[in-house]
């Protein structure tokens, strides 16, 4: 049976110990990609891949990426929420790969809200 190779796992493990020591501070930004059927069908997975790619490149340890379901605005999908600690969440609509990368690099990392793509401010409930 094919399995993940133990020798490679050991290599991964070394990297982990090096990087987790930096992770102690806790998260200061949360990025949520909305992944309902509507989101998935209109490109949410591409958006999720883009943000994971940018996170990996940035090597930032205080950013959490998560997913959630449909929030009822299917026509505006893919939707992404960026929530910085102590600030109101910002919702972006019609996000695609390049927009997501720009949102990550400008808003998530630099704090500069990309107002041209903002749908709303605040939580849905």
């Amino acid at each position: 049976m094919a399995k993940l190779k133990i020798s490679d796992l050991a290599k991964i493990k070394e990297q982990v110990t090096a990087s987790t020591s930096l992770r102690e501070g806790g998260a200061s930004v949360k990025v949520t990609v909305h992944m309902g059927t509507c989101g998935i069908a209109s490109g949410a997975r591409t958006v999720l891949n883009a943000v994971m790619d940018e996170l990996e490149k940035s090597a930032r340890k205080d950013v959490i990426i998560t997913t959630s379901g449909c929030m009822g605005l299917c026509s505006a999908e893919p939707l992404v929420t960026v929530e910085k600690l102590g600030e109101e969440p910002i919702k972006y609509s019609y996000v695609d790969d390049p927009k997501m990368r720009q949102i990550f690099n400008r808003h998530v990392l630099e704090g500069e809200i990309q107002t041209q793509w903002v749908l709303a401010k605040g939580s849905e409930q």
């Binding site: 993940l4 796992l9 290599k11 493990k13 982990v16 891949n49 994971m52 929030m71 009822g72």
Partner: protein, 190 residues
């Protein structure tokens, strides 16, 4: 949905919405009988028999924001088009199992798509959930269990995008090795 991975992702999202802590995805391809089956099982809250009976009806959903739910119904309609079907089994409090089967080589059957990336995206973004994945092609199989990985690498490891990029590469290589066709080999990064 462009590929099978998106359909599976959609079904797994249902499991996550149902509060699952363990999601198991099994893909069984049998070249000899030209068949393929995908099973997604979870330990979420499950469904009452009345709801279960109508779960694949597009006008049934648990959502309160609108009155249609398309995930299961889309997959069911597609599986029927590929010479198969979809079946849901569920018990309240016990979890849900969705099984889809179809003709593996059907002309309209989409490719698997980028499943390694899709799965690693799920693992990375849902740290509170464990995933078990089994893929079988004829006699060959590949298995991954995040519970084992967490034990081996420590609980924090799977939250690290760099670690997950390595795991993703290895899944991709393993799938090629067991004979899964059309696994994309994208350039580095997650």
């Amino acid at each position: 949905m462009e590929d099978l991975s998106l359909h599976i992702l959609d079904i797994v999202e249902n499991s996550l919405m149902a509060g699952a802590r363990l999601v198991e995805v099994a893909m069984e391809e049998d070249p000899a009988s030209d068949s393929m089956a995908i099973t997604v099982s979870d330990d979420g809250q499950g469904m009452e028999p009345q709801f279960l009976a109508r779960a694949t009806d597009p006008f049934v959903t648990t959502r309160t924001t609108r009155r249609v739910g398309l995930g299961l119904s889309l997959f069911k309609a597609n599986a029927a088009n590929w010479g198969g079907g979809l079946e849901v089994r569920s018990q309240p409090g016990q979890g849900t199992t969705v099984r889809v089967w179809f003709q593996r080589g059907h002309l309209d059957r989409p490719p698997l798509g980028d499943w390694p990336r899709t799965l690693c995206g799920l693992i990375l973004t849902r740290q509170e959930v464990d995933f078990r994945y089994l893929h079988r092609v004829g006699e060959q199989e590949f298995e991954l269990d995040t519970r084992e990985l967490r034990e081996e690498l420590g609980p924090e490891a799977l939250a690290d995008p760099q670690v997950m990029a390595l795991v993703r590469q290895q899944i991709g290589e393993a799938l090629v090795q067991i004979g899964v066709a059309q696994v994309p080999a994208p350039p580095g990064g997650l």
